[in-house]
Amino acid sequence: MNAHLNEQQFGELILGTRDQEIAGHIEACDVCRAEAEGVRSAISDCRGLALEVAERDEIFWARQRLAIKQRLTRHHFAPYVRWVAMAAMVLVVSAAFLLTRTPQPVQQANNDAADDVLLQQVQSDIERDYPAALAPAVLIDEERNSALSASAKRNSNP
């Protein structure tokens, strides 16, 4: 292998290949070996940086564990809370429905009865021989007629 390592071969090398050809080239080529050392060193720095940046004190980890525990507990009870809330909602809706719907038939019945009375009044008014307002006059007329017939009887039988 005369040319330097290509991207894939270099990647294989950094990933830890057992390819004899690549290993042989690295033995012989100072440029590729230096590049490989540079990349390994950069990756190692990267790793060190990531480990160092992610370091936290024990209080942080304990607080995190506590938060997980608390969220798990809430999560554990969440389904039951949901069911209880749902049952309560059904009860409230049912109660509201019953409270608003039950008196309505009674009221409806009252309305129907009032309508019946009104219709009966209208019917009886229609069936009358005279309007209701003239009832007193009719009574006077009936009394006058009965008085006249009584006096006529007296005159015919002295």
């Binding site: 991207e7 990647g11 540079g38 990267c46 990531a50 992610a54 980890w61 995190q64 997980i68």
Partner: protein, 201 residues
């Protein structure tokens, strides 16, 4: 034939049984894995608050879906898969947040940490010049990983920071080993270019 099937069934039950047993002491599992999950999430997201929040979310999800864990991979790899998925979703949401913020706040106000700034002096007894050089080198290396695309960065972090094998990364990311190798080759190539640039500016 029936005997083989019965043996296989017993194996599957055995694996599932071990998986359930691992979840029985969930506190111990959290204690053992929280640092690693947080470290990976921080390396991928570069946001300590998001890394903390998603670490918690990762364990909650693991507990919630513990019955789905059949023991095909180690519990560590399974947890890592959850963490990687959460990080991916978070990045997607962050993109939306960026557009929302763009229209509500001045550009550049988004908080972003520089890991090098968070570090203590590399060597407290070193001269200011040497400290500066060391910080410059770290900043340079940090920039390499920062500039990798999200998936490449995740694969790079798992391989070189967490030293996971290609198979483990495949299980954690649901990518094919060939794809993972391609990502790694490109990431290594980017590091190689940076190293060259630094040596020959």
């Amino acid at each position: 034939m029936e005997q083989i099937a019965a043996t296989e069934m017993a194996d599957v039950q055995g694996i599932a049984g071990r998986a359930v047993a691992q979840f029985e002491d969930f506190d111990a599992l959290v204690l053992a894995e929280q640092r690693r999950i947080y470290r990976v999430l921080l390396a991928i997201l570069r946001d300590p608050d998001a890394a903390d929040s998603l670490t918690q979310e990762c364990f909650l999800k693991a507990y919630e879906h513990r019955k789905r864990f059949r023991g095909e991979c180690s519990i560590r790899t399974w947890l890592m898969r959850i963490a990687i998925n959460l990080a991916r979703d978070h990045v997607k949401n962050r993109r939306w947040q960026f557009w929302r913020k763009l229209f509500s706040e001045p550009v550049g106000s988004e908080e972003r940490i520089d890991p090098v700034d968070q570090l203590e002096p590399v060597d407290p007894h070193a001269s200011p010049e040497r400290s500066l050089l060391a910080r410059e080198r770290l900043a340079h290396v940090s920039a390499v990983v920062d500039n990798l695309p999200n998936q490449q960065r995740a694969v790079f972090v798992l391989r070189f920071l967490e030293e996971m094998s290609i198979e483990e990364i495949a299980q954690a990311t649901s990518l094919r080993p060939g794809t993972i190798k391609t990502h790694l080759f490109r990431a290594v190539s980017a590091v190689r270019e940076r190293v060259k640039e630094r040596k020959n500016p």
